[in-house]
Symmetry: C3
Subunit: 140 residues, 3 copies
């Protein structure tokens, strides 16, 4: 059994930007000599999200954002914003319910994702950021 | 330390169908010789969900669906549906926020779930499907 | 590779009470001799939540609760409540979408959380409870 930890650097624009990190995770997995185990993908920061999604433009650029505008709209006068002179209360709430950590099993060196199921990093924040996504692989 | 990966086959009807997979997971755990570790339950497909819920008819057949009709209603004209001639945009959004992977610790060969806390697989899709749920166990 | 399982005892008041458990998790991690691996934090009970949040009063005492009042308000006549003479249907729904298990990687004996990213336990239930939160550490 072996464990190792590495990461992905992303330049992001935020405001519900959804990025497919599956190719990065596949590359990290391919470079390991592991056949069976798990990959944990972890978003550093309280305005990030990690989950799975069919990575197609309708969902990515429109539908997910529209859903979140009902749940936690940008531009609302959150207590968080009042307290800290911030404008990203919505981003914190979206992160809270999306989650920032995701674990995907692999077998025969391949992630067990469905054909139209991608691992996505979401930057919910309201400004451009440099982001680090942790990828931790363990297995045999 | 040992890791192994198996699965559960489910015939589902979709439309927010919630299935208690705890008995399946318990059986897999009992058949292993492991006493302490984790089980990861993973839903293959971008219209699935894995989480915990008290598995009782009020929540399972009514309340969860009612909540999601506010967040991501079925039958809405999602961009996803327009793009792909599909009708399951709601299913993708519900999966995004529910999550498709769940990790439960066990000790003395028993999952550490609460008495009324079950691991559930949700089929959010809009049609009957044959589904594979991955169960990966590791520990000692 | 080593795995061990311990826990945190919390006395909670419920009704969306959000508790920062990062100091407890850090202490458990410091007392282990592990440098690289994962901590899984697991909430026992179907009215709990585990996720990450910037632990500041605006979000903790106001904004998160306000968001959930839109998604799954307390005091609504849920089918769950009708069936069981209960009043905590909202708590079950909030738990369902927040999730009750969270995995955080660590390297050099430190959790890889962002500066303003804390691991929080949420008691969504409608009454005071004694809660047990599982902390399972594995790594090398």
């Amino acid at each position: 059994m072996k464990i190792f930890t590495t990461g992905i650097q992303l330049q992001t624009n935020g405001r519900n930007q959804i990025i497919d990190v599956t190719p990065h995770v596949n590359q990290i997995l391919n470079e390991s000599d592991l056949s069976e185990g798990q990959v944990t993908v972890f978003g550093i920061g309280s305005t990030t999200g990690i989950t799975t999604l069919e990575f197609e433009p309708g969902l990515v650029n429109h539908d997910v954002g529209e859903m979140f505008e009902k749940i936690a709209p940008y531009g609302k006068d959150y207590r968080h914003n009042q307290t800290w002179g911030d404008d990203n209360g919505a981003a914190h709430l979206r992160s809270f319910i999306t989650g920032t950590s995701y674990t995907c099993p692999f077998v025969a060196g391949k992630l067990l994702l469905g054909t139209w199921q991608q691992i996505v990093f979401v930057d919910f924040d309201t400004r451009a950021r440099s982001r680090q996504v942790v990828v931790q692989v363990f297995g045999q």
